[in-house]
């Protein structure tokens, strides 16, 4: 699985790094930073849930 961050959409809700801190982190402003674009098997579910809770649809998941 790969995740893609659409930076121009992120406004810092922070749902992604709340729900999947292994995959997403925050910059100084609290906007999303991708820690790993290739998501290992054991984190797939978490990454998917994080993407589905972003109100801005700023994270795309490619299976």
């Amino acid at each position: 699985m790969k995740v893609e961050l659409l930076e121009e959409r992120c406004v810092g809700h922070g749902r992604c790094y709340d729900l999947a801190p292994e995959v997403f982190d925050a910059d100084e402003r609290g906007h999303c930073v991708l820690l790993q674009a290739r998501v290992p098997e054991q984190l797939r579910e978490k990454a998917r849930v994080a993407a589905e809770n972003c109100p801005e649809h700023a994270i795309r998941v490619h299976e």
Binding site: V11, G12, H13, G14, Y17, D18, A26, E28, R29, G30, H31, V49, E52, N53, C54, P55, E56, H57
Partner: protein, 407 residues
């Protein structure tokens, strides 16, 4: 949840009007939202005459297009300000420059640093009334908990909380401070309170300039945007917003959450059994209750929404509470699912103006819910009493709770 069969329907399908500013709506807005989403996606607010946009997709679309749905409307809202509040009432790109310096002060990481103090304060507040077996939740918990944390961040004296609350309520809940509140009297009152707020913070700015601390005002005095220091007026315009937003919204949310859980014991017991559900329960209750029901915008150009022609200059209400129960976005929107897996609620707004304090609010809400349910897992609304919700931001201003005191 029931609607009085005697009262006219809200929304009114014949006129397309909706009442958004009443105690009845504040107590139980969800059926009104459902009516709007199903039959009336663009309604008219009885109070302002402005358009009310309710469905999730339409609200989100408007939030993402500040160039059309502008926030620059200080005077239209008649909140007693002399200039727009910053960053809420200005548009990108200027708004973005302010958010770049304000966001780091309200980041999740920074808010986590004050969590232990909030936790301790929650415990102290509960210590004061737990043996009594009852409390008035608003005054004894929901008001003091977030206000104390907020005043600490601002570096303002705790002893002056009653004064700040009077200023905040003077703007947000002017009706409670004005006798026979006509629109003219309300505006006059707000202007007077507004002048008091400016004067107070002018004094604070002078003090911090002389003796800087690690508080918000001192930070704003030393911060630069594109190589320029902020002007005193800009600092005042940020402070005006923070005092209104920081002293009201988490109080309202705590009351809405606890009132819901007091009335729904099965949901509450599940939270007590499974405290790991608290973070997602906080999100779900934010969705269901949406204490800040709406955000205002003004149109920069003519636009058509669901066949309604809206004109440049029109005031528009984006009803985020209704968007949050739209079945097009949320399956089973009328069920409160504490572990709801997919929850893109808009309780903190969205787009460029996403609530600056959302990480502070989440930390306070999660901490309060955790501590409260550890200490007082079983509670209910005092028999014979009815919680009282205020119109506008849905604060539960009267929420008498009872529980079995531990022997």
């Amino acid at each position: 949840m029931s609607v009085d069969p005697e009262s006219p329907p809200n929304p009114n399908p014949e006129t397309g009007e909706v009442v958004l500013f009443s105690p009845e709506f504040a107590r139980c807005p969800q059926p009104v939202y459902a009516g709007l989403n199903a039959h009336c996606p663009v309604a008219r607010a009885t109070l302002t005459g402005g358009a009310v946009i309710s469905r999730y997709e339409d609200v989100m679309d408007a939030l993402r297009r500040p160039e059309i749905f502008s926030s620059a409307m200080d005077l239209e809202l008649a909140l007693g300000t002399q200039r727009p509040m910053i960053p809420q009432q200005i548009d990108p790109p200027a708004q973005t420059r302010f958010r770049k310096v304000l966001d780091p002060r309200f980041s999740k990481r920074r808010m986590a640093e004050i969590e232990p103090a909030v936790r301790q304060h929650a415990n102290e507040l509960i210590d004061a009334f737990i043996d009594r077996g009852r409390c008035e939740f608003d005054q004894e918990f929901a008001v003091p908990l977030p206000c104390t944390a907020f005043l600490r961040l601002m570096g303002l004296p705790q002893s002056e909380l009653p004064y700040f609350l009077r200023l905040k309520d003077g703007i947000i809940r002017s009706q409670t401070q004005v006798e026979d509140p006509t629109p003219e009297k309300v505006l006059e009152h707000r202007k007077k309170i507004g002048q008091e707020i400016y004067a107070y913070f002018e004094k604070v700015i002078e003090e911090r300039r002389a003796r800087p601390g690690d508080d918000m005002i001192s930070y704003l005095l030393t911060t630069e945007i594109d190589g320029h220091k902020l002007t005193d007026n800009e600092i005042l315009d940020v402070s005006f917003l923070l005092i209104l937003a920081g002293l009201d919204t988490v109080t309202a949310t705590l009351g809405c959450n606890i009132a819901y859980l007091a009335a729904n014991p099965e949901q509450r017991r599940r939270l007590v059994r499974e405290p790991s559900l608290i973070p997602s329960a906080v999100e779900e209750l934010l969705r269901w209750e949406t204490p800040v029901t709406a955000v205002p915008r003004v149109l920069k150009q003519d636009v058509s929404v669901h066949g309604m022609e809206l004109k440049k200059g029109d005031l528009v209400t984006l009803l985020i509470g209704a968007a949050n129960v739209d079945e097009r976005e949320f399956p089973n929107p009328d069920q409160v699912v504490l572990g709801r897996e997919r929850n893109r609620h808009l309780a903190f707004g969205g787009g460029a103006h996403r609530c600056l304090g959302s990480h502070l609010a989440r930390m306070e809400l999660q901490t309060a819910m955790e501590v409260w349910h550890q200490r007082i897992p079983e509670y209910s609304i005092q028999p014979g009493e009815t919680p009282r919700y205020s119109p506008g931001i849905r604060e539960v201003q009267y929420l008498p709770l009872v529980w079995e005191p531990r022997a």
